[in-house]
């Protein structure tokens, strides 16, 4: 059913198309989808069950494999969602009904009472501090601490507003008495509303498995057995122990920590046969971070297969072993018992040779699996979508973001266990699919902000207004605010100063605007919290009053003053005065900056006509933009030409023909077969490129606003195991072709191939060894797929798979289990002792007239389970050849000024949150060019790249930030130092004038050039030397 969705969708969109999309779930997936849609002309409603968006990622301390701080990388998206003019966040709510058809749905949303007005609440937290109830379970800290009845999950929450938990609240009324913002609403009630949207994106995420159901691990009984979610909170700086590694029983620092893998995953007894995809990596990350936080920690990870299949994952595990001393033991832990006196834990397991070993640990972490969210079943019923047998949304390999109901899309862990980048990719993909469906309604429901013209300030000296915030008692309780205001009045250029209870409140914004008019202010200084969260708000405020965004300065007298010097009010007041003086000194020098408009060319260049390129091309075209699709080969299809069926059994060639047919029928797509891109010039919105036939010929020149790199990858040509020497040694894709074309019939000894009944598959040929220290990700599933095919054709066939780790992640695991049940034998060989394929002397056989004598083939392997060598006579040896990056990547990378990773694949802008973007704006990435991946992952990534590209293409013009570097030609000596330090290739030397020239569209405003320039010729506008020195002088 899902297979045909795309076609259905094309036909089903009725006459009316609504330019709004409902996103259900406000985790990282939901946020990404919402931002992509809102930034390409659609109104978004984001329904979140919890009081704040942020989801599971907000709970994480760090993220693998970069060890990025989870909150830091996510909070810009949080803030953007919260502030976006066209995203309406509807927290505390759920979807209860759906009517209508794709393009025009009516959704019923029920909102629970919050009892706090989120528009008034400032998040100061006084209510929580005084709430008499404090014993409610703090779910955000996974129950490791308690919280009051009035609470907020985390300090950066969006909306930044408290919630009363009516379950535990006794209704004493203290919070209302203490709330200075007047935000408490005890008469709040649940409400229901109906939303009219064109499409729906489901991003409910997952729920961690509850190990209380497994008696053998003692979770819930032994205090020092914790889940990985709890341990993540223990590691987090915002967690219960502020990031100190302490064990729950007594607050001691654990020395020996055991991680137990596959708790609630790969386990038929708990109903979760699938692999949760992320646990091997997060356990390794937690072990590494624990070691960083407490160097004495000795972590041990008990695992079955190390599933570090993603980009950069294997090298992360290597580092965990070699640099951090993390111990990995391959076993299944049988039992955990407690030493009552110490609360230490005895872990018993079988070692590699089958002896039962017991070992004492101070703390045990259960790596719990991912389950579908409990609310998914109800939602699926309300929306009429199908779930699979485990409760994840059912999708097809070629339609990974489409549910069984047209117009309803899905992304993230709700579709199956997956990590953050896969989630973000699918989220962008789902957004792209929704945008394509609703392309005709783009821009119909969005609001655009309009501003009054900027005042002409020429000839007017600085007239500065200072607004000092009490922030309830957050600042005023420590700093003597009236004294600061008095002091501010004495500073040069200050013509007005006042204090506010909350400078950020809506009414104060109006007041600031009135004061700007009343006193003819030309610069505004706010002394309050941090510019990181509030600068845009105040900038917006003064812009609305006709002042340029950049005529604003902020003094951080809360986060960096009153909150951190609570016991020294006099010194804090002195510091606050200093900070205000510095901000005023800076403000006096500020100048209006321009946010340069850059017009956008509404077409895309897509390089590579394989699955990724074709999918992206169709998406971009369906969104209404022109596409130039360049394919090196004479025909479209790329890698897909050699794939015949999927693990789930779908017919790949049929899908391929369908794709090509649709490309041919799409007038907006121009295909350039047998061509390559020879030159790319320009920048986001304005590229100009040359396309030429391979081997030379007439070049075409095209103009385009974005580039999508979808150049694919190659297959490693094995250089061992007699490949190329013996015709009976082939690769998995060769086997697949033979199977699909009927050239091989297991059981019948075909003369051409010599096939009998015994197949030996060797994994990791060219992967995870030598310089290619990465995993090719798909080979295990391919082996399982082909083994199942062979078994289906001939149940008597003997199939051996020689592997290092079986990496059938996610629901692929189910097929691995099926293969085992079907009698496929899996033998693990040691990394340092690969199998040997050798001919055995025997009766010579005449081969198809070639007269080449061939004996029996034999594969010798050390079986790690038996501990001895095994010789398997083989009729056919099948090699899982690695996926290798194209040699041409380097050339293209240089052309586009984008980086490659150590292995030669393209390197995305951010491993976690920008998986299909490059750091260079306007250039996107999809498919095997990024890293090895499966068909569904490629399709999702192609949708995502297209969606991201369309956020640019749907703009008439791009406005860049005003903070840019500028060259004073008279001072520039043309030395070129700045050219070297600029990471964005924004500076070029003009050889005619012998001066540096800065391309404002490429400049990101880091200021490295200004700090490097030897003759003071470069100025970073907004952070000029004068402005910084003014601050220095004011200290």
């Amino acid at each position: 059913m899902t297979l045909d969705n795309r076609d259905n969708m094309d036909n089903d969109v009725g006459a009316k198309s609504v330019g709004a999309v409902l996103v259900v779930g406000g985790g990282i997936g939901g946020m990404q989808a919402a931002l992509d849609l809102a930034n390409s002309g659609f109104k978004v409603y984001m329904v979140e069950a919890k009081p704040a968006i942020g989801g599971a990622m907000a709970q994480l301390d760090k993220t693998f494999p970069t060890n990025d701080c989870s909150m830091c990388i996510m909070s810009p998206k949080l803030v953007e969602c919260g502030r976006h003019l066209n995203i309406e966040v509807i927290p505390n709510s759920e979807v209860t009904g759906l009517d209508g058809s794709p393009g025009d749905f009516t959704v019923t949303v029920k909102t629970r009472a919050r009892y706090i007005d989120p528009h008034r609440c400032t998040g100061c937290g006084l209510c929580a501090e005084h709430c008499p109830v404090s014993a409610a379970r703090d779910a955000f800290n996974a129950g490791l601490s308690s919280r009051p009845s009035v609470y907020i999950d985390y300090p950066q929450a969006v909306p930044l507003a408290y919630t009363i938990d009516r379950e535990t609240c006794i209704g004493c009324g203290l919070c209302e008495n203490i709330c200075m913002a007047g935000a408490v609403r005890y008469d709040d009630a649940a409400s229901t509303r109906e939303l009219n949207v064109g499409a729906i994106i489901l991003a409910l995420g997952f729920e961690p498995y509850d190990p209380g159901q497994m008696a053998e691990y003692g979770y819930g009984r032994y205090p020092n057995v914790v889940t990985s979610v709890e341990f993540e909170r223990i590691l987090s700086a915002s967690g219960p122990f502020e990031g100190r590694v302490l064990r729950p029983s007594d607050g001691d620092i654990p020395r020996k920590i055991a991680f137990i893998q596959c708790v609630g995953s790969r386990d038929r007894s708990c109903g979760n046969e699938y692999c949760s995809s992320v646990c091997c990596m997060y356990a390794s990350k937690e072990a590494v971070i624990a070691k960083e936080h407490a160097p004495g920690v000795e972590p041990t990870i008990f695992y079955m297969d190390m599933r570090s299949y993603g980009k950069g994952f294997d090298s992360y595990i290597e580092r965990a072993k070699s640099e951090y001393g993390v111990r990995y033991i391959r076993t299944r832990v049988a039992d955990i018992s407690e030493v009552p006196e110490t609360n230490n834990l005895i872990v018993s397991y079988e070692d590699e040779v089958g002896r039962v070993v017991t070992e004492e640990f101070d703390l045990v972490v259960l790596s719990v699996g991912l389950e579908p969210p409990k609310s998914a079943a109800g939602l699926a019923r309300a929306l009429g979508i199908e779930l699979d047998e485990y409760g994840f949304a059912r999708t097809g390999t070629f339609d990974p973001v489409e549910t069984s109901r047209p117009g309803v899309f899905v992304c993230g862990a709700m579709q199956g266990p997956k990590d953050i980048p896969e989630t973000v990719t699918q989220a962008s993909g789902a957004a792209g699919a929704a945008a394509a469906l609703l392309a005709s309604a783009r821009g119909s429901l969005v609001r655009e902000k309009t501003y009054p013209p900027e005042k002409d300030l020429r000839g007017k000296g600085p007239r500065i207004g200072v607004f000092v915030c009490h922030c309830g008692i957050n600042i005023g309780g420590v700093v003597d605010v009236p004294a600061v205001v008095e002091y501010a009045r004495t500073l040069p250029h200050v013509v007005y100063a006042e204090r506010n209870l909350y400078t950020c409140s809506q009414d104060t914004q109006k007041r600031i605007q009135e004061k700007i008019q009343e006193h003819g202010l030309t610069r505004v200084v706010v002394a309050s919290c941090t510019p990181r969260t509030h600068e845009p708000l105040f900038q917006e405020t003064i812009r609305e009053a006709g002042l340029n965004h950049y005529l604003f300065a902020m003094a951080n007298i809360r986060d960096q003053c009153s909150w951190v010097h609570m016991h020294e009010p006099e010194l804090a007041t002195e510091k606050a005065k200093d900070l205000v003086r510095m901000a005023v000194a800076r403000a006096a020098l500020l100048e209006p900056l321009e946010r340069l408009p850059i017009p956008v060319k509404h077409s895309a260049l897509i390089i590579g006509g394989g699955l990724a390129g074709m999918t992206a091309a169709l998406d971009v075209a369906r969104q209404g933009f022109e596409v130039h699709l360049v394919e090196r080969e004479g025909e479209l299809g790329g890698h897909l030409n050699r794939i015949y069926f999927t693990l789930k059994g779908e017919d790949v060639q049929e899908r391929l023909r369908d794709l090509i047919r649709r490309i041919d029928g799409e007038p907006l797509i121009h295909v350039y077969p047998g061509c390559v891109v020879t030159e790319i010039a320009g920048y986001v919105g304005n590229f100009k490129s040359k396309i030429a036939p391979v081997g030379g010929g007439i070049e075409a020149e095209v103009e385009h606003g974005v580039v999508i790199v979808a150049t694919g990858a190659g297959e490693f040509k094995p250089d061992k195991y007699l490949y190329g020497e013996d015709p009976r040694v082939i690769t998995q894709s060769e086997l697949e072709e033979l199977l699909a074309t009927g050239k091989i019939q297991p059981g019948s000894r075909a003369a051409s191939t010599g096939t009998g009944r015994t197949f030996v598959m060797i994994q990791c040929v060219g992967s995870r060894e030598g310089e290619r220290n990465y995993c090719s990700r798909i080979c295990c599933s391919e082996a399982v797929k082909n083994a199942l095919r062979l078994k289906a054709a001939d149940p008597e066939a003997n199939i051996y798979v020689l592997y290092r780790d079986i990496r059938t992640y996610g629901e692929r695991e189910v097929y691995f289990q099926r293969a085992r049940a079907a009698g496929v034998v899996f033998i693990r060989y040691p990394e340092d002792e690969p199998p040997v394929v050798e001919p055995v002397a025997g009766p010579e056989v005449e081969q198809g007239g070639k007269g080449k004598p061939v004996g029996e083939l034999r594969v010798v392997v050390r079986d790690t389970l038996l501990g001895s060598k095994v010789a398997i006579p083989a009729d056919m040896v099948v090699l899982a050849a690695a996926i290798v990056p194209n040699d041409s990547n380097r050339e293209l990378a240089q052309m586009l000024k984008v980086p490659l990773d150590d292995n030669g694949f393209f390197l995305e802008a951010h491993m976690k949150l920008r998986p299909v973007d490059f750091a260079t704006e306007g250039v996107f990435l999809a498919g095997l060019a990024h890293a090895p991946k499966s068909i569904d992952e490629t399709v999702a990534q192609a949708h995502a790249a297209a969606a991201r590209a369309c956020t640019v293409l749907s703009l008439e013009e791009i406005r860049s930030d005003g903070i840019k570097s500028e060259v004073n030609k008279a001072r520039c000596s043309g030395c070129g130092m700045c050219v070297d330090v600029c990471q964005y290739k924004a500076i070029e030397l003009d050889f005619k004038e012998r001066v540096a020239k800065i391309n404002a569209a490429l400049c990101k405003g880091c200021g490295a050039c200004a700090a490097t320039c030897r003759c003071g010729a470069i100025t970073l506008k907004g952070f000029t030397d004068e402005e910084i020195l003014a601050e220095v002088n004011a200290i």
């Binding site: 941090t530 750091a919 200021g1007 490295a1008 952070f1023 220095v1032």
Partner: protein
């Protein structure tokens, strides 16, 4: 020179914090209410790579007793490699100020991520303690007195 209520000298320290990591870390110290000495005056810059060594010298000339430059951890730089540039500049500057006779420890460099509120507070505590031990900065003030308006080239 800054004196506290008891008439004792209080060091004044300028901290250049990059907007994306260290400044955010300083904010986190605030939201976590981690207390540290009030001797530091923060100047926010887009990237630690923006901090020209001259700015640091200028701080010492203008009466700062210590200067801290703090950026993202290696690999975390919002601008790809600005923190490496900062580190290189800093290594060079350290040698220069050593040559000038400014005590080691007056000018310090650290990595503080947006998640390290506690580390930020620790860095401030350490820097303040070190500078307090060193006493008021005098070296570069003399230079300024001798040369009149040195640094006017900035």
């Amino acid at each position: 020179m800054k004196m506290n209520q008891e008439g004792e000298w209080e060091p004044k320290i300028v901290a250049f914090l990059c907007n994306w990591c260290s400044y955010a870390g300083a904010d986190l110290a605030g939201t976590s209410r981690i207390q540290y000495p009030p001797n530091v005056r923060v100047i926010r810059v887009p990237c630690s790579g923006r901090v020209d060594p001259l700015l640091i010298l200028k701080c010492l000339q203008r009466g700062a007793d210590g200067v801290l430059v703090s950026g993202c951890h290696p690999g975390d730089c919002h601008y790809i490699a600005g923190n490496y540039l900062a580190r290189r500049k800093f290594a060079m500057l350290k040698r220069l100020i050593e040559y000038l006779g400014v005590e080691e420890g007056r000018v310090q460099f650290s990595w503080v991520s947006a998640a390290e509120g506690e580390k930020f507070a620790d860095v401030i505590k350490t820097v303040t303690r070190r500078v307090r031990e060193l006493g008021p900065a005098r070296k570069l003030v003399k230079v300024r007195e001798m040369q009149g308006g040195a640094g006017a080239s900035l």
